[in-house]
């Protein structure tokens, strides 16, 4: 493909959270406007989409990950590659809310960055009658971490776009703060680091 004069900026989002909380459901709803009723556990899936973020055409890469992973260390690599995280739990499942703590810690450790773009997502908000995690608890935790908390429903599409766009905005802000070397693509930096480590 002939290089285009303006390559849209690329934001890498990682979906994390326990199994069955609706990471894939949120992703598919965002990507293809569809909701899948069946539960099929994910290993890892990559998605790419062009969106217009505040008037600017950007590209979002989404890595949908497995809720159940035998060895947490396996996640290190893709946490490392992520620029922003949607940390998802289900409001109908206390354990999944509990698990967000561990995910948060691992991400911070891997990224070595306390202020990595991060949104706490309470999914399945359409199942209000089966709510196990109070909004207050979730908001408190988010406040404690200094991140936004959003309740979503992959089923009704409530706040689905919002969580992705909010996160992308945070990522964009972070990138702007980081140094404004827009011209140098990300991968270039990575290459350098990789070479350094080899050497």
């Amino acid at each position: 493909m002939s290089p285009k004069t303006t390559t849209p900026s690329l934001h890498k989002v990682i979906m994390v959270g326990s199994g069955g909380v609706g990471k894939s459901a949120l992703t598919l709803q965002f990507m293809y406007d569809e909701f899948v009723e069946d539960y099929e556990p994910t290993k890892a899936d990559s998605y790419r989409k062009k969106v217009v973020l505040d008037g600017e055409e950007v590209q979002i890469d989404i890595l949908d990950t497995a809720g159940q992973e035998d060895y947490a260390a396996i996640r290190d690599n893709y946490f490392r590659s992520g620029e922003g995280f949607l940390c998802v739990f289900s409001i109908t499942e206390s354990d999944s809310f509990q698990a967000t703590q561990e995910f948060r810690e691992q991400i911070l450790r891997v990224k070595g960055d306390q202020s990595v773009p991060f949104v706490l997502v309470g999914n399945k908000s359409d199942l209000e009658d089966r709510r196990k995690v109070s909004k207050e608890d979730a908001e408190n935790r988010a406040a404690e971490w200094g991140v936004p908390y959003v309740e979503t429903s992959a089923k009704t599409r409530t706040n689905v776009d919002k969580v992705f766009f909010d996160l992308m905005r945070e990522i964009r802000v972070r990138k702007d703060v980081e140094g404004g070397d827009k011209d140098a693509p990300n991968k270039h930096k990575k290459r350098k680091k990789l070479k350094c480590s080899i050497l």
Binding site: M1, A44, R48, Y71, N77, S81, K190, K193
Partner: protein, 853 residues
């Protein structure tokens, strides 16, 4: 005598089953010639006995019956006298005979008398007396009369009439009484004779008594007969009288009906004449020739008069054909015919002038309306011509030649307007397309300005032979951007919309003005104008074709021209034409038909284009770069699908598109598999994995229900490729260990016990230790790092699958480690041999690799 009697019996009466009782030889008294004849009395053998008198003549041939009478017809018999041979018999008339001898005559009369005495109404016997002597003679004669051979006849001589049942009974009673006295036969006979004579006497008495009564009865019958005759005569008289009257009445009746017929005929004649006169009457007369065609009133009057004339000329329908032969009728017809000729001439020249006039003025200034991309409607002309519609209808029926020539004049005059306007319309459309496209410049100028960028499937070809000039092979697709495309379709839409009202109005006008509506009653008369097509519908179409032939040509060349620059334009053209052809107001109209026929052409172009895309995919080659990444035709398919969806939407032509989607995807699938097989540096698995991943994503976004299967297939193919790639490469870091344990496993599956593996030369503990030594933790880490780098090198930027693949590899590596460990513990139990690195080491390596970039 008896000889004659015998012969007679034999020859004459045997055959008729009669018995001859008596015969007398006679000759007629008044005859000179003495031909002997025999008068015979016979009785039938069958009961009841019928007595007959025959006159038999002897001829040379034998006996011949001359005459016969029933005994009952004998009214009177005259014995005359004993001395005379003469005697008379009164039968149906009086007969006089001469017997041969007195004896014969006596015997005959005795017999006749005896037989007759038994009868109910015996005839009169004149001059004949029965005495003892005679009686005796008679008895003798009776014996003679009987046929001698017939013994029964002799025995029952007394009872020759046969016995009735009662008589038989009586006889038996009498005989029964004398049974004991058979001995005394003589006394018995005497007694019988005595009784018999007593009975005879009684019999005769009773006969004599009743005679007087019978006579008086006869008399009264005779009297009533004569009275009846009188009445009859009177009746005949009456009948004669009545017959006379009847014929008189019949005559009167006939005359009456004749008079009725005459009166009716007169009436018929009168009505026929009135009819004829009314039919032929045309009060307007020659004034019709001064008709004023320039005012609405004048036209209305002319219309009225013309139809009256038509009515008058239509006499054949109203009157009897025979009347047409009347001179005055023929004369009047000729006169009317002349009026018609002149009038239609006047009308024709007037209308022809009008047509030509409008043909000239309408073509002067119409470009102003065309500028709005609307073919102008010639309302001015329609308004002026509409009042003549009925007159046109008249002309069509009355003077088809004039009608035909007017039709021709109209077509020729109006054709010019439309030809010009259509041309202007399309020119305007072209200007608008190029005018607005100046920013991008793609559609503005000549084809030379077009840069064939070869997007879509053209790209794959241009990449295949990069050295060759791209222009030579470009079919031009993908040379415009979507806004230019949209602009072109907008203009096309406006053109199609702008054509419809004018063409449809014209068609409606022609149909009504020239009475060409399909199924119009007078369609038969059009055959003079168009001999080949009999139907008015065909004629209408023919005229429309000559008026608007420019549309199809212009539309075709317009489309062909732009499709030369951008082949994919045929897609939108197809959809738009399809929509317009299906519009309710265009069904079965000329413009609808034109759209339909151009649509067919566009569909062909579309099929050709799609075919070229499929061909391009099939011909595509692998790009000469390190990472092929997403193949051009995969992204081309996405671009194509996005564009096609925006064009086709849910239009009626969508099914055409979906058919090609399927064909194209088949080519895409095949293309990915084929190019993956050809790849050099990059593993085919990676090409398959990346491209099917992308294809699945494209199809997920496209959401065409018809492609659900292809979507699933893409996902399956992606997973197959991912697994294939991972299994092919994850083993690299521990290659020797893997080889060693593959060998172990092979042995086990051959039947070697796991615990005895250690005794195999190649798989001894020492050997295992040696292999394990080669993989200290440091080496493992190095291996993993180089694997990571390799994966990074294989995968392209296009598809962002590094994390997915690396996660799968980490997982597989752990699975592999665990399987080796378990094999060691099973095959080398108690050896305390372990790998030189732990699972925690591996996890640490993973984390370190993650941190390193």
């Amino acid at each position: 005598m008896s000889g004659v009697k015998f012969e007679l019996q034999k020859e004459v009466f045997e055959s008729t089953k009669e018995r001859l009782h008596g015969v007398v030889t006679v000759q007629k008294t008044n005859r000179k010639k003495k031909i002997p004849a025999y008068l015979c009395i016979t009785g039938s053998i069958e009961r009841p006995i019928r007595f007959t008198i025959y006159l038999v003549k002897k001829t040379e041939k034998g006996f011949k019956r001359k005459q016969e009478w029933t005994l009952s017809s004998l009214k009177e018999s005259n014995y005359k006298s004993k001395e005379s041979l003469e005697f008379d018999l009164q039968l149906e008339k009086s007969y006089h005979w001469l017997a041969q001898s007195v004896e014969e005559k006596d015997a005959f009369f005795a017999l006749l008398h005896q037989i007759c005495s038994r009868m109910h109404r015996p005839p009169k016997f004149l001059n004949f007396h029965i005495d003892e002597e005679d009686e005796a003679t008679r008895n003798v004669n009776m014996a003679i009369v009987s046929v001698p051979k017939d013994t029964q006849m002799i025995e029952s001589g007394d009872e020759e009439f046969g016995l009735t049942e009662r008589e038989e009974f009586d006889l038996e009673k009498v005989l029964g009484r004398a049974e004991n006295a058979v001995v005394n036969a003589e006394a018995f006979m005497e007694q019988l004779a005595k009784e018999l004579s007593i009975l005879d006497g009684e019999n005769i008495h009773s006969i004599m008594d009743s005679e007087a009564q019978v006579n008086s009865l006869m008399d009264s019958i005779d009297k009533s007969i004569s009275q009846l005759e009188e009445i009859e005569n009177e009746l005949v008289d009456y009948e004669d009288a009545v017959t006379h009257v009847k014929s008189a009445v019949e005559k009167i009746e006939e005359e009456n009906s004749q008079m009725g017929t005459a009166a009716k005929n007169n009436q018929h004649l009168l009505s026929e004449l009135t009819n004829l006169i009314r039919a032929l009457d045309f009060p307007v007369g020659s004034q019709i020739l001064n008709a004023d065609f320039n005012s609405v009133e004048g036209i209305a009057k002319a219309t009225k008069d013309a139809y009256a004339l038509k009515e008058a000329l239509n006499i054949e329908e109203n009157i009897h054909p025979a009347l047409l032969k009347m001179r005055s009728v023929a004369d009047q017809k000729r006169r009317l015919e002349k009026f018609k000729q002149k009038f239609s001439q006047n009308l024709m020249s007037h209308l022809a002038k009008l047509f030509i006039h409008h043909g000239n003025i309408s073509s002067i200034d119409s470009s102003s309306t065309v500028q709005a991309l609307r073919l102008p409607i010639i309302n001015l002309m329609y308004n002026e011509l509409t009042p003549y519609t009925k007159l046109m209808g008249w002309l069509k029926v009355m003077d088809s030649e004039a009608y035909g020539s007017l039709l021709k004049t109209y077509t020729l005059s109006i054709q010019k307007i439309y030809e010009k306007n259509v041309r202007i319309l399309f020119e305007e459309a072209r200007t608008r397309i190029s005018g607005s496209a100046t920013t991008s410049g793609k559609l503005s100028g000549s084809t030379n300005d077009l840069r064939i960028r070869g997007r879509f499937f053209g790209k794959t070809r241009s990449l295949a032979n990069r050295e060759g000039d791209t222009e030579s092979q470009g079919s031009g697709e993908g040379s415009v951007d979507s806004s230019e495309r949209q602009h072109f379709y907008d203009i096309l839409e406006q053109v199609l919309e702008g054509l419809e009202p004018s063409v449809n109005t014209e068609e409606k006008f022609i149909a009504s003005f020239f009475c060409l509506e399909i199924g119009s009653s007078s369609s038969g008369n059009v055959s003079i104008v168009s001999p080949s097509k009999g139907s008015a519908g065909g004629e209408l179409r023919r005229i429309m074709s000559s008026l608007f032939s420019a549309i199809e040509t212009e539309l075709n060349s317009f489309l062909t021209n732009y499709e030369k620059m951008e082949a994919s334009f045929c897609m939108g053209a197809m959809v738009r034409l399809g929509n317009h052809a299906l519009k309710a107001e265009n069904t079965s109209t000329y413009i609808g038909m034109i759209f339909g026929s151009v649509l067919v052409q566009e569909k062909r172009s579309f099929d050709r284009l799609m075919n070229s895309y499929v061909q391009a995919i099939n011909d595509s080659r692998l790009p000469r770069k390190a990472k092929p990444g997403i193949l051009a035709f995969v992204t081309d398919f996405e671009d194509f699908a996005v564009m096609a969806e925006s064009i086709f939407g849910n239009s009626a032509r969508r099914s055409d598109l979906e058919k090609w989607y399927v064909k194209m995807l088949t080519a895409v699938f095949d293309g990915i598999m084929r190019l993956a097989g050809e790849s050099g540096k990059t593993p085919g698995e990676v090409i398959r994995m990346e491209n099917f991943h992308r294809l699945h994503s494209i199809l997920s976004r496209l959401k065409v229900p018809a492609l659900e299967q292809q979507k699933k297939d893409a996902k399956i193919k992606y997973n197959e490729a991912l697994n294939g790639y991972v299994t092919k490469y994850f083993g690299r870091p521990l290659i020797k260990l893997n080889e060693f344990f593959e060998g172990v496993q092979a042995k086990v599956s051959q039947g070697v016990k796991e615990s005895e593996i250690g005794y195999q030369m190649a798989f001894s503990r020492a050997e295992l230790k040696r292999v394990i030594k080669e993989y200290p933790a440091k080496e493992v880490k190095k291996g993993l790092e180089s694997l990571y780098r390799k994966v990074e090198k294989h995968l392209s930027e296009d598809e962002n699958l590094l994390q997915v693949v690396w996660r799968a590899m980490q997982e597989e590596f752990i699975v592999q480690y665990k399987s080796i460990e378990s094999l060691i513990s099973r095959c080398y139990p108690g050896s305390k041999i372990t790998l030189e690195f732990t699972i925690d080491d591996i996890l640490l390596f993973f984390s370190e690799i993650a941190q390193s970039h």
